[in-house]
């Protein structure tokens, strides 16, 4: 076989393989990208006879579900995002830059503990604790529990990031005459900001998509996030109203996709990779 033919065969093999892989990931989602725009959608994959936004209009008429999305989910994911980002940044900075002894042991201990005490394994004590604090059925409960659960991984990633920044930045500011607080505020914070952005997006996406924690900690329908409120489009028997659930799913997924695109564009996914708990 000559070189040229072999090259062409190789190309064909490559594109065929790539198509196979792509379809494995795309097929399960294909229906979800079409159905929301079809007022008569069934579970069958077919192009709508006419492209319509009527499903979305009906979803927006469901004030309970919309409030869950634009208020409760935003509040809970945003709250946990702010708390995780701030506390993880402070802790990671201390672990990287202070004279505290055994910071490696602390960091690895954190990761060990957090991989042992997972949300599913610890759902009983977490529920009992929140119950004991009188916080059952509050946004605060969801925010606090998510923050606690996401923190170890956030600290781990953030510490890696802070460690990669040369200490000479802060040292040169110290020598220039800056007080420790100024060094942190003028130099360290701006330099670790990209890391904070990534942590923030990561925390937001995790809480936004999380189901179990709000499911066991919240009672009243007025506080449910979108992850739970989506079941308001299901009948009593547990079967979904296909058209509306699809439309709502799309709305609910959109922020996650946009944030992913943002992070990917700004920092590349490499840094984001491997950290979804």
């Amino acid at each position: 076989m000559n070189h040229h033919a072999r090259f062409i065969l190789g190309r064909i093999f490559f594109y065929a393989g790539a198509c196979l892989f792509a379809s494995f990931f795309v097929l399960p989602l294909l229906w979800l990208t079409v159905a929301p725009f079809n007022t008569l959608a069934t579970l069958s994959l077919s192009l709508p006879e006419e492209f319509s936004l009527a499903n979305f209009r009906r979803v927006f008429a469901n004030t309970f579900a919309i409030r869950a999305l634009v208020q409760n989910s935003v509040l809970q994911a945003g709250g946990a995002m702010v708390l995780v980002t701030i506390t993880a940044t402070l802790a990671a900075y201390a672990l990287s830059r202070s004279s505290i002894k055994g910071t490696d042991v602390i960091t690895y201990g954190l990761v060990l503990f957090s991989s042992v005490v997972t949300g599913t394994a610890a759902m009983v004590p977490i529920f009992l604790m929140i119950h004991g604090m009188g916080l059952i059925d509050t946004h605060v409960a969801v925010i606090l529990v998510f923050t606690g659960g996401l923190l170890p991984a956030a600290i781990f990633i953030m510490r890696d990031f802070v460690d990669s920044i040369p200490r000479s930045y802060e040292e040169s500011a110290l020598v220039a005459g800056a007080s420790p607080w100024r060094v942190f505020n003028d130099i360290a914070l701006p330099i670790v900001r990209p890391g904070m952005m990534v942590i923030a997006v990561w925390a937001f996406v995790n809480v936004w998509g999380g189901f179990l924690i709000p499911f066991i900690l919240l009672r009243s329908s007025g506080k449910m996030p979108a992850a739970v409120a989506i079941y308001s489009f299901y009948s009593e028997a547990g079967t979904p109203l296909v058209t509306l659930t699809a439309a709502y799913s799309l709305l609910y997924t959109l922020p996650v996709l946009l944030l992913y695109l943002f992070v990917n564009w700004k920092y590349g996914f490499r840094f984001f990779g491997g950290i979804k708990s």
Binding site: A35, A94, F113, P125, G148, I230, Y231
Partner: protein, 301 residues
């Protein structure tokens, strides 16, 4: 000894305090609390809610009761199902598919690679309930996309969620989580100096020989990392609940769902605590094995 650091000791402790408080309350405390609760008959309401009694090992004895341990819907059966789920979806599915993808696109960076990578990542980051709903539609017996394709090529249309529920959640979990293995293996492959492979090529090694003799030994640590992490995550995932609810007839009741049902369907927290305790011990075993391997790898390096 006087030692100056960028952050003084008091400031460092102050910076650690908020995170430390969170970690203590929501990670360390539950670890010990769950041990305590698992020895009681604590419930949500009624007399034992306020004054739970110490019942010793009763919850564990009930959990490991040999007469019914392996009965459908019992703890032993659930552990076996979880083992199958983890083995097929994480170790065989995600790890191998992830490695295959990383290897397939190694040296083929470009728009094709980034498109497939993005698709895998989208499957990975979408909210749980949305992917569950998408798969509910995908696997539908009469109209689902999968069966539309299968019947078009004459392979029939099985009722996935009812007749093959375990196969369904395994496929689902592979689809959902392969992105992590793929990303980690890609970066591991990217860190191999090209000269290593070029030397092998010059020496006349085939693609498979290069994979076996050069690539796999060089990324051994990454393989261990991937295997342990995806095992831990798959072991603890609750998402199959959203697809099958653990059914039909407990056929997909992995331990995370079993814990939920035990603790929250009847609010028997003592029992739920005992299950959670067993889960944590299994998690701990995985984590210790992992750290041990990492440490010995470091010692070798």
């Amino acid at each position: 000894m006087q030692r100056r650091s960028i952050l003084s000791l008091p400031a460092g402790l102050l910076f650690l305090l908020p995170a430390g408080a969170f970690v203590f309350v929501f990670i360390i405390l539950p670890f010990f609390w769950i041990a305590a609760v698992s020895f009681t008959n604590r419930t949500l309401t009624g007399r034992t809610a306020l004054n739970p009694e110490f019942v010793g090992l009763a919850n564990y004895r009930r959990l490991f009761d040999p007469d019914r341990f392996f009965n459908s819907g019992e703890f032993g059966a659930s552990l076996i199902l979880t083992g199958q789920f983890v083995f097929f979806s994480a170790i065989l599915g995600q790890a191998i598919l992830g490695l295959l993808l990383a290897w397939f696109f190694y040296n083929h960076r470009g728009w094709v690679q980034s498109t497939v990578q993005t698709l895998a990542i989208v499957a990975w980051i979408m909210p749980d309930v949305v992917v569950a709903f998408a798969w509910f539609a995908f696997l539908d017996r009469d109209d689902g996309t999968l069966n539309q394709i299968l019947s078009a090529i004459g392979l029939g249309h099985p009722d996935w969620l009812l007749a093959l529920p375990m196969v369904s959640i395994i496929m689902f979990n592979i689809w959902r989580g392969t992105a992590f293995s793929m990303l980690l293996f890609s970066s591991a492959l990217g860190s191999i100096p090209p000269s290593h492979l070029e030397t092998a090529s010059v020496a006349g090694a085939t693609g498979l020989q290069k994979l076996r003799d050069i690539i796999l030994p060089l990324i051994r640590t990454h393989i261990i990392t991937v295997l342990i992490l995806i095992t831990l995550w798959t072991f603890n995932t609750f998402t199959p609940f959203l697809l099958t609810g653990g059914g039909p007839a407990f056929q997909t009741e992995v331990v995370s769902i079993y814990t939920y049902r035990t603790a929250f369907q009847f609010f028997r927290f003592g029992m739920g605590g005992a299950v959670g305790m067993v889960m944590m011990i299994i998690n701990l075993a995985f984590a210790i094995v992992y750290l041990g391997i990492l440490r010995s790898q470091k010692a070798h390096a």
